[in-house]
Each structure stands twice: as C-alpha cells, then as structure tokens.
C-alpha cells in the first residue's frame, strides 16, 4: 500500500507508467473475460435446452413406440375378427356350442356358469374368454352365430396379450351388443342393464361418431373391472367386401407404466418433472395433479388449459395442437420455469418436462462465477506485477532525485549503490560521477572563499568620513539627532 501511495503521490511519471500498464493489461483481461463468459454461458444454456429437448423427444418416442405396438396388434385383431365373421358355421353346430352359454341370475348370458360347472375358470387355465349378452332379449340367430364364430379368437387374443405387457383386456363388441372379452372376467362386474354399445370404447369408434373409420383412443378412465387407470384403443371392424360395419375391436391397456415413463423423469437437481396430457389438455399423468380414482369409468378431470398463468396455458395449447418446442412461464410462486414438450402422435397426447430456469442456467452461472474469480485473480496479479514493475523503475529514480537535491543544496552525497547495470543504473552511475565532480568543485570553491579578504583602506575612509562630519550641516545634525529621534518617538 505504501508503495502505491508513494508512486501515486510522488511520481507523476511513475503514476502515468502505472496507469498505462494497467490500461494495456487489466482492461483487456476484463473485457476478454466478459466476452468469453457471455459466449460460454449462452452456449451452455443452449446446450442445456437442446439436451432437455432431446430428452423429451426420446421419452415421447418411447411412449409412442409402446402405443404403436398396441395399435398394430389391435389392427391385427380387427382383421382376424373380420375374417372370423366371414366364416360360415353349420347351424347345428352353432346350436350345440351355444349350449355352453347360459344366463345367470341377472339374466346375463355368458360362460360363467359353464366354467363353474367345469371347476372354475381359474382352474381351467389361461386362454379363456367370456361373452356378455343382456339376455333380457334372447340372442338372435345372427348373434348366436357371432358368439360361436368369435370363439376361435381366444388364441389370437392370448397371443396379443402376450406381446403387450400393458394389455389388460382385448374384446370385440358387435352392433347388436354382444361382447367377447379376453381374458375371462366374470359378468358379475357389470351392473344390471349395462349396455356396452353405450360405453365410450364402442361409441367412439362406431361409424356414426367416426365417419373416417379410424382407430380411436379413449380419454384415460378408471377401469370397470378394477384394473386402474386405462385407455382403450377402438378400431371399427368393416366387412372388406360389403363395407358393412361389423362391430368394434377394443384393446384396453393400463397406462400406469406409460405414466411412470413421464413421472419418472427427473432432470438436473431433481426438481424438474414430466407430465402427460391428452388431446383436450386433460392430465394423463402429472405429479401435482393426482387423478381421482373414485368411480369406475370416471375420466381425468384436471385440464391444464384451465390451470396456471396465461403463459403456461399458451404453452399447453401448443402441446394440445401437437407441436414440439420449449417456452418459459411463471408458476404460482412466481418462479420462472422452462417447459419442453413433444407430441405422442399415436394417441394425440403430449409429453412435457418442466425445469426451473435457475437450474437450466445453473451450469452457466457456475461457469460465470469461476470465470469471474479467475479473471479477478489474473487482474489482481497483473496489477501487483504492474505496481512491482513501476516500483522497480521508480525507486532508483527517487534515490537519484534525492541525490540531485542534495547536490543542488550543496551537500556531499554518497555514491548510489548499483546492484545491476540496467538503463536506470547507468544513469545513476553517470550521476555518481557528476556528483563526485560537483563535490570536488565545491570543495575547491570553499577553499577559495577561505582566501577571500575584506580590505578596508583606513586612511581613505577617514578622509571620506571627515569630509562629511566636518560640514556645518553634519555638525548641526549631530547635535540635533537625538532630539529629532525623540520627537518622532513621542508622536501619538
């Protein structure tokens, strides 16, 4: 500190030199550091955004792949149904095989009683299906034929279920209301008077509601048979020759594993999360909005288009529109969040990942902090070096200046010490030689003064004094002098 103060207060040239050193070193270091930090932080932030977009795309692809597999196998099942219904069976055989289908106490026709007579469905092994028919109206011959024709679908349905681990039920429903369900489930689960044609898995795909005859996914719902949250893929079965509608092939899958894909998304420090919404913006999976599972058949009720800030709702609308991208919004605690999203094209759902913006920019911030300390350290080091360099140059000049002052004031000076032979010390060497010569001259001059004499010509002085004091004026003045002085002194 003393060095800096000394340079600052006592050396304008050293001060200018120090300032120049600082200008050409510290300022460029700080400027370049700021530029580097800015570019690096932007690149890091972009990289984080790109990584999150890649993650959401990958997760959406995983979900989509699972659903596509369901779609393909269900299409196969629908083709098989269409072929089976073309197969002619002898009426005698139809009647014989229908004998196994008996109405229960609620007058629902199915295989429950038959399986019980055989020792119970559970004892009969896998690969069994069941039929539901509201027997208040006994089955027509066409319905009876459908029941018998669809018996051969059991191995196919079993195969499909084996391929798809999420498959819960796979079933065909005819326009008359006959439903064949695989695997077997007791008809006791259905309420009295239940009509499958009134249920969404049928209505969503029937031509009246599906003129393009496309595969249709139902909104998530709670399963009637107690299997939890599910969605159903329904495909209309059309006679390829006549174009006649022959029923709906439905495939129920539990979506718990699909939800888990979304809910298991944890990014960065773990505060990020994933969520799924259906094409209407309703929550399929969301860690904050647990869907109610109160009633069988109830659907997801939380709609994100009605939640959060306008910015958030605008982003959800883009998700509903099937877009992919990213955007920012403020949550309820006014904390800024980033949302990256990608569509699940099979079902029209959309997968989103929410991450706090602070975590997105955290690596960039960390790098900024490191860069700041490094730049500050380098700047400090450079400043110290500049001060030291200035001091090294300044100090000999100060000693030189002090020596010059001593010589100027006529004092003898000791020769300045020369620890190396640089430019400044060469100047000091020249000074030493000059000081030595000046000192020698001073000594010579002093010796000369000692010889100086003051000579008064006494005789001449007396003559001159006499010429003055012999005058009348002086004599009169001599007499009056004291009086005159006293008169002046006494003036008030």
């Amino acid at each position: 500190m003393n060095i800096v103060q000394n340079i600052w207060t006592r050396g304008p040239l050293a001060r200018a030199f120090l300032m120049a050193l600082l200008l050409v070193s510290v300022i460029p270091i700080i400027s370049l550091s700021l530029l580097f930090v800015r570019q690096s932080t932007d690149a890091l932030t972009y990289q984080m955004q790109a990584n999150l977009q890649s993650l959401v795309q990958a997760k959406a692809s995983e979900i989509n792949g699972r659903l596509t597999e369901v779609l393909h196998t269900t299409e196969i099942a629908a083709d098989q149904v269409e072929m089976v219904l073309q197969h002619e069976i002898d009426p005698t055989e139809v009647e014989a095989r229908l004998s196994r289908y008996q109405p229960d106490e609620r007058n629902i026709l199915g295989l429950d009683i038959y399986y019980n007579q055989q020792g119970g469905a559970s004892e009969m092994g896998e690969g069994l299906s069941n039929v539901y028919w509201d027997n208040r109206l006994p089955p027509s011959s066409a319905v009876g034929r459908q029941i018998v024709q669809t018996e051969v679908l059991d191995p196919i349905f079993a195969s499909i279920k084996g391929v798809n681990p999420d498959t819960k039920w796979i079933y065909f429903t005819s326009p008359e209301g006959m439903m064949r369900l695989y695997p077997w489930a007791s008809n006791d689960h259905y309420p009295t008077g239940w009509n499958p044609r009134e249920i969404i898995f049928y209505s969503v795909a029937e031509p009246a509601n599906n003129p393009k005859l496309a595969p249709r996914w139902t909104p998530p719902y709670v399963d009637y048979a107690g299997a939890g949250w599910m969605t159903t893929l329904s495909i209309p079965v059309i006679d390829r020759v006549s174009g006649e509608f022959q029923g709906v092939m439905s495939h129920d899958i539990t979506i718990d594993s699909l939800k888990d894909i979304a809910l298991d998304i944890h990014v960065l420090d773990g505060s990020g999360y994933g969520f799924l919404i259906d094409p209407q913006g309703r929550v399929v999976a969301h860690p904050e909005f647990a869907s109610a599972v109160d009633a069988q058949g109830s659907q997801a009720e939380v709609n994100l288009l009605e939640k959060g800030s306008p910015d958030f709702q605008a982003l959800v609308q883009r998700m509903v529109d099937g877009e992919s991208g990213l955007g920012y919004f403020e949550d309820e605690s006014l904390s800024e969040q980033m949302l990256v999203y990608a569509p699940i094209t099979t079902t029209g759902w959309s997968l989103g990942i929410v991450v706090p913006r602070t975590e997105v920019v955290a690596p960039a911030k960390a790098m900024q902090t490191r860069a700041f300390f490094i730049a500050a350290g380098v700047a400090l080091l450079t400043t110290l070096l500049a001060v030291l360099l200035t001091h090294i140059l300044h100090q000999p000049l100060v000693r030189l200046l002090a020596g010059v002052r001593l010589v100027t004031e006529g004092h003898e000076v000791k020769p300045l010490e020369l620890d190396s032979f640089n430019e400044v010390n060469r100047l000091a060497d020249a000074f030493n030689k000059m000081a030595a010569k000046v000192g020698e001259r001073e000594r010579n001059l002093k010796a000369k003064v000692a010889e100086l004499k003051i000579e008064i010509d006494i005789q001449r002085r007396q003559l001159e004094v006499d010429s003055i004091i012999e005058t009348d004026y002086f004599k009169e003045l001599e007499m009056k002098a004291e009086g005159l002085r006293n008169r002046l002194r006494l003036i008030e």
Partner: protein
C-alpha cells in the same frame, strides 16, 4: 511608539528597495501598520514592487515638498493582510523626468522631509516607518540616518561596497544611531556564508541581521512582486523573516 528604520546602502543596485518592500510586507503580516517613504528621489522604484500602478499616483513626496499637498494625500495603501489587519502605506517619489530634474535643480529643505515623517506617523498612526534612502550620504540621507532607531546597511560581498559601508558605519556611529545592523545581500553560492558573517562582523563591529544569497529566482521576480510572500520557503525569504524577527 513608532520605530523608524532607515534602509541604506552606499552604492546603488544592492537590492535595497526590494528588501525594504519585503520587510514592510512581513511586518504588516504580523498586524502592524507600516509606512514606507521612497526617499530615493533621484531614482525611485519601490512602488513597482508593491504593484502600484503609476496611473493611479496623483501626489508624491515631491508635491509635498513643493507644498501642493498634505503628506497623507501622497500616501497609498499598497498592501493589506486581512488575517492580521496589518497594512503598508507607501509615499512614492515622482517618476516623472521633469519632476526629478526640478527637485535636483531647485533642491529642497531637508528638514521638510523630517516634517513629512512626523506628519505621516501622526496621520496614519504607524507602528513602523521605513525609509528607503538614496544611496550615498547626501544631506537628506544623513537626516534619515540621524532620526532612525534602526539603521539597516545593505552591502554586497564586493570590495567597493566594503569600503563605502565602512564610511556609512562610521558616520552612523558618529550620529549615535541606537541600532546599526548589516545585511549582506547577493552572496554568490561559492561563498562560505559563515565565513562571510564572521569576517564582516569582525571588520565593521556591527551585527549581521541577514545573509541573503544571490538567487536567479529573486532576480527574475523581485522587482515586480513581494518575493518573500510568494516563496516563503526560499532562502532569501527565510533571511527576510529572520531579519524582521530582529526588528
């Protein structure tokens, strides 16, 4: 009680007016009321050191001697020190060539000068009266010396000054001036001042009031401003201060 101080040198060019002006200013800085008479009627110049514009000079000591003005009408306040309240009042001599020629031609009554001193002291209630005398020893100068409480004789370390100063000292001693001091001015740097002081005091039998160096800075500035105030740390200024402390 007013102290009357004459500043004299046997020869011209000794720096008499410059030293007189600086003594006056230093005394004023101590809070004194100081009067300065420019009695170097033949070659006046002290007004320049005080920065007195010649265009503002209406009356001079010449006019007083010719009876055309009162002495206080010829006195100009040329320096004041706000902090101490001291001031310097200068009575200049005319610098007009015809006035100088007239005073030399017609001469004047030396006693009139004495009256001027008295009247100025009384009118301005002076603490000090400094008389910047004419070099040499004419009647007016002898009168100034005779009435002084203190006589400051300025000399240079020069053989002619040594001789002339010895005459002045002898005359002043004859007039029984109470306090005679010597000022050695313009001492070259190659002189040993201690040796100068010892020899001068030994030769003249008078104390040295100040030993002032020959200085380029003083030569460049002294004739146009009060150097002791401008550069108080300069050896010349320190010598003036040392001198004033003895008054």
């Amino acid at each position: 009680m007013t102290k009357v101080i004459s500043i004299h040198s046997f020869r011209g060019g000794t720096g008499k007016s410059n030293i007189t002006a600086n003594i006056a200013a230093k005394l004023a800085q101590q809070g004194h009321r100081v009067g300065v008479f420019d009695c170097d009627i033949q070659s006046p110049g002290i007004h320049v050191i005080f920065g007195l514009d010649t265009n503002t000079i209406v009356n001079t000591i010449n006019d007083y001697l010719w009876g055309t003005c009162q002495i206080q009408q010829a006195a100009y306040q040329v320096f004041t020190d706000a902090a101490s309240g001291g001031s310097v009042h200068l009575v200049p001599s005319s610098i007009k060539a015809n006035d100088i020629a007239r005073i030399l031609r017609e001469s004047y009554d030396a006693n009139a000068i004495h009256n001027a001193f008295r009247e100025l002291i009384a009118a301005l209630q002076l603490d000090y009266l400094l008389i910047d005398t004419h070099p040499g020893l004419n009647e007016e100068t002898l009168l100034s010396i005779a009435i002084s409480d203190v006589l400051l004789i300025i000399l240079r370390p020069d053989q002619q000054d040594f001789q002339g100063t010895s005459v002045t000292v002898s005359v002043a001693q004859r007039l029984r001036v109470p306090d005679i001091k010597l000022i050695v001015n313009k001492i070259p740097p190659d002189y040993d001042v201690a040796d100068v002081q010892r020899k001068v005091e030994e030769i003249y039998g008078c104390p040295i009031a100040a030993l002032l160096p020959l200085s380029l800075e003083v030569a460049q500035n002294a004739s146009s401003q009060l150097f002791a105030l401008k550069a108080p740390g300069h050896p010349f200024s320190e010598g003036i201060q040392q001198l004033v402390d003895q008054l």
